[in-house]
Structures are given as structure tokens and as C-alpha cells.
Amino acid sequence: MSQTIHIRTASQENRIRPLPSSQKNHRIFTPGEEVIKAAHTNFVRGHGTYEDDGDLKASVAGVKEQVNKLISVRPLKSRYNGQVGEVLVGRISEVQQKKWKVETNSRLDSLLQLSSVNLPGGELRRRSIEDQHMMRQYLQEGDLISAEVQSVFTDGTLSLHTRSLRYGKLGQGILVKVLPLLIKKCKIHFHNLPFGVSLILGNNGYVFIGPPINDKEGNEGGFVQNLEEVVPKETREAMARVRNCILALAKNFRMLFDTSIVFAYEESLKYNVHELLLPEAMVDVAVLTQQRLSMLENYESH
């Protein structure tokens, strides 16, 4: 079944069009477009705008946002701009003196200080010279971590911390990259989905899909990876399905959060996992998910 190879032509009827949005439409400004006319001089210039002959023009493609007199244009597609407290998934790109550099899809690599990680052996441990020498044994280049933004420096660099048992090195699983704006900001970004998959929706657009986590076996704030364990076939299938569902939603610009992913998973069950790679199936799953989400919305509002 999966042996057939699909080659589709990029003709008009095959072209995938963006789904109509059910929410209210926002005006999208293109770069150089006038946001505020010169006559209205009562504004403050915000991000994503510039002044030209007294007019306020957009410097990025995006939607207008206004807070009192401050007018800014928020880009639709951009790298990740971090805010304190957000959950991230990142990849270690460099080990330095007392800190790790982490690739987090932002403009600049983020920093993870040795002093802001939980080292094995307890919460209130002093970080010694030995720990500095051992840094690569805790986290090395290429390792995936989950972390939280501790602070943002003036140049936009993020300082991360993993001082909670939730955060730390990630084990076996799949990393999916989507646009950061598609991740809905929620209270919880760590999910154990009902069909036996754990999910970390990083605010930076990196989504980590892993096998279910057992809280029973005393979690050590993760510097341990179990490379021996073979993920069973059913879990693997569920993970692959979640991966393909997330990509289907992301490709059709649907927001990603636990409910939408669960809906998409349920709607996708009529397809085999590998069939979800086909654009037609992706659109179908996204449309059905959207329908169920709006039904839920209507039900809640009445």
C-alpha cells in the first residue's frame, strides 16, 4: 500500500488553497504600506513600523496592534521573540565556559548558564569547578532540552533555566519545527495525550513528541537518557501520527494546542499514518479539525 509513489502535478486544481478562516478577518499590512496617515499625528511608533513624510508605514508583513497611542505591526512570520516564563524546546549548539549555547529559533542563540540548571544530586548544590569540567557530560552538542525563559537581554538574547523537574534533557522522540506564531500560549505546554504520547509545545515553534512519561519512577530532572529502551510499535505509530497531524495543521495555518491536536488525531484515524503525508489528507484533517473546534466554541458560548 505504501509502496505506491505519488507524483502530483502542481496544476491549478491540485493547488492547495489556504482554508477560510472562521475567526474575524484581520487586515494584513504589507511592508511599505501606510498604517496611519500623516493627518493623524497623535501616535507613537512601535515595532514593525517606520515613519515616512510623517506617515506611519509598516516595515513587516503583519497585523496592526494598537495600545492607546502606541501602534505596532506584528509580523505573521518571524523568528521567535522570547518572553520571560515561556516554555521552549531547544538544541545545544555549543558548550562554553559555565554556559551552553542553545539554538531556539530566535535571532540569536540563547544561553543556558551552568548556574541555572538542576544538577544531579539535589536542588541546593554548589556548582564546583568539577561541574564546569563535566559540563559536556550533562549536555553536549546536539542534545535537545526543554527550558523556560529566565530573562531577556537588551540585544534579544534569551537566558534560559531548567530549574524544575519538568525541564531538562529530552529523551527519545521526534522534533517537529513549525512557525512560532502557531503555538497557542497556554498555561500548560507539557501534555500527556490520551493515546499514549507525551508532547511539549515549545513557544518557539519547536514541538517535541515523545513516548508517554511515567511519573512513578522518580523523575530526576532529566540528565539521563535511556538509549536501551525500544519504544513499542503502538507508541511509535501514535507518535508518528501526532507528528503528521501537527504538520498537517501547521501547513494549513491552524493553531496548535492540546485540543486541536487531539481532534486532528481523532479525525486522522481513517487514514494510515503514511497517507497523512499527502497534501489532500493534510487539508482534510485540518478542515475537519477546524469544524470540530468551531463546534466546540459554539457549544461553549451558548
Partner: protein
């Protein structure tokens, strides 16, 4: 981009279980999107998208003198450009090595006699022939470059229109060629047997086709086979292989290449002509 040990382990176990990260089995191929005739000023062109690998191929034709040892044959030349748009690794001269490698493997794959009949391109024995310049631009790199490029080249060659020649006047040394004025008065090349490259990767104990970028990082060795008309025209391997594994790879490559070729030809023949769409429009 480098993967961590745990991710690699996950991929490895997946391949062993015949269930890869995106749900394909070991022989599974990702869906392909293809369009032809998109470069206006070229004689033939195609753009192919395989997952996130994006290739643009175009063919230009010029008149040339045939090689003295092959007076009845035209010429074909490949040029690959790995643009830095594809991946930051190609910045500066980073992509050059890979580009040369890709062009070489295509040249070698097309040089076998039963692939593309170059005698079709002969105009006048020993004097004039058509020379095909195949330019390939890598727009995005998402793994499995070899396969994608060979498919794009084949589609572009299928799409190529060789002008018809009305008559020739031979005046001593000078040969005057009168090419048909009518732009639509062209003939197409027979590319049925043009080679298809298939990369077979060995991950763990098993072989897979169409590796994604992540899977390419986990492979121990790989074999690129060029298959045309049920024959291998070129085989290149990266890394060392055991004899048995090699034969396993060749079998798998052959099987998939035949399947790919069939689907590609079917798609190309069904493809509507002169449509006004394209990824650039």
C-alpha cells in the same frame, strides 16, 4: 544541524521495526510535486518538490560540433548550482564540492549508451549536433538530493522541445542551418530510458530509500544507483559495504527505481500542456 543520541536511537529502532518516523515503511517514498515548462526562456524546464527538497531544472540547446570519435552523437552537459538559499552550509564555496559530485554522477549515469539516445541530437554527421545544457538549481535541501535531481532532470528533458531543421546548405567548410521559424514546430526527446537515481541508505541492519535529512544523519553508508531500462548505468557508494548488503541495496534500489520511473512517465504523459501556473506565479 546535528541530532542527539536519543533521536538517532529512535530513528534506528524505527527502521528496524519497518516503521519510520513519519509512518513510512523502509521502501516508502514521500509524495512528490512536479510541474514542467515554468522557465519561459528555456527549451524545457521542470521543478520538483520532494517533501522539502526543491529542485529547478532547465534545459538549453545550442549548436555544437560533435566529438570526432562520436560523429553521430549530440552532447549533453550538466551543471548543478547549490544555492545558499538551500541550506546555510552552501554559503560561499560550501556547496561546490557537492555540486560537482552531483553533476559528475549525472554525467556518468547519462553516458551509458542505452539511456538517452544522443544520436537523436545529430544534425550533420561529424559537423553539427545539438548540445543540451542541463542546469540544475537546488532551491531547498531536505534530504535525498540525488533522487530529486534525477527526477527533475528527466522531467525537464521530457519537456524539452528541440527545434526542427528545415534544410541545410553546405558550402565547402561552411554549413548553413535553417531552423524552422515556427516556434511550435518542435520535436520532443525520447526520455523513456533516461536514468533515475535512487539513494539507498543503510541504517542499522536495514536499507531504506528516500531518507529525510534526519535519517541521512543516522546512516552508516549509502549507495546511489542509476537505473535506466532495467539496467544499472552507474553505481556509487559512500562508506564501505558488505557484499551481501550491497546486493540487497542494489535490489532495493532497482525495485524502487522501476516503480519511480513508471509513475514519473505516467504523470508526465498526463500532464496538461501550456498551463499558466507555476510556483513562481
Amino acid at each position: 544541524m546535528s541530532l542527539c543520541e536519543a533521536e538517532k536511537t529512535f530513528i534506528l529502532h524505527g527502521v528496524a521495526e519497518n516503521f519510520r518516523v513519519d509512518g513510512r515503511d523502509r521502501e516508502g517514498y514521500r509524495p512528490i510535486e512536479l510541474e514542467t515548462d515554468i522557465v519561459q526562456h528555456a527549451f524545457g524546464s521542470a521543478r520538483l518538490r520532494l517533501a522539502s527538497t526543491d529542485i529547478l531544472a532547465s534545459v538549453k540547446i545550442e549548436i555544437d560540433t560533435p566529438l570526432p570519435e562520436k560523429p553521430f552523437e549530440g552532447k549533453i552537459e550538466f551543471f548543478v548550482d547549490c544555492s545558499a538559499n538551500a541550506t546555510p552550509d552552501f554559503e560561499g564555496r560550501g556547496g561546490e564540492q557537492l555540486a560537482i559530485e552531483l553533476a559528475n554522477i549525472l554525467t556518468s549515469a547519462y553516458s551509458a549508451p542505452q539511456t538517452l539516445d544522443l544520436r537523436e541530437l545529430c544534425i550533420l554527421k561529424g559537423e553539427k549536433c545539438w548540445k543540451l545544457y542541463v542546469d540544475i538549481l537546488v532551491l531547498e535541501c531536505g534530504g535525498n538530493l540525488y533522487d530529486a535531481i534525477s527526477l527533475a532532470v528527466k522531467a525537464a528533458l521530457f519537456n524539452t522541445q528541440v527545434p526542427k531543421i528545415n534544410n541545410m546548405t553546405i558550402d565547402g567548410e561552411n554549413v548553413d542551418i535553417d531552423v524552422s521559424e515556427n516556434l511550435l514546430d518542435c520535436r520532443r526527446l525520447n526520455v523513456k530510458h533516461a536514468p533515475i537515481l535512487v539513494t539507498v541508505c543503510k541504517i542499522g541492519e536495514h536499507c531504506i530509500v528516500d531518507p529525510s535529512l534526519e535519517e541521512e544523519q543516522c546512516m552508516m553508508s549509502s549507495v546511489v544507483v542509476a537505473v535506466s531500462n532495467n539496467h544499472f548505468s552507474t553505481i556509487t557508494s559512500m562508506g564501505s559495504l558488505h557484499e551481501e548488503t550491497l546486493f540487497e541495496c542494489l535490489n532495493l534500489g532497482h525495485k524502487v527505481a522501476v516503480r519511480l520511473n513508471q509513475t514519473l512517465i505516467e504523470t508526465l504523459e498526463k500532464m496538461p500542456q501550456n498551463q499558466d501556473v507555476g510556483f513562481l506565479k
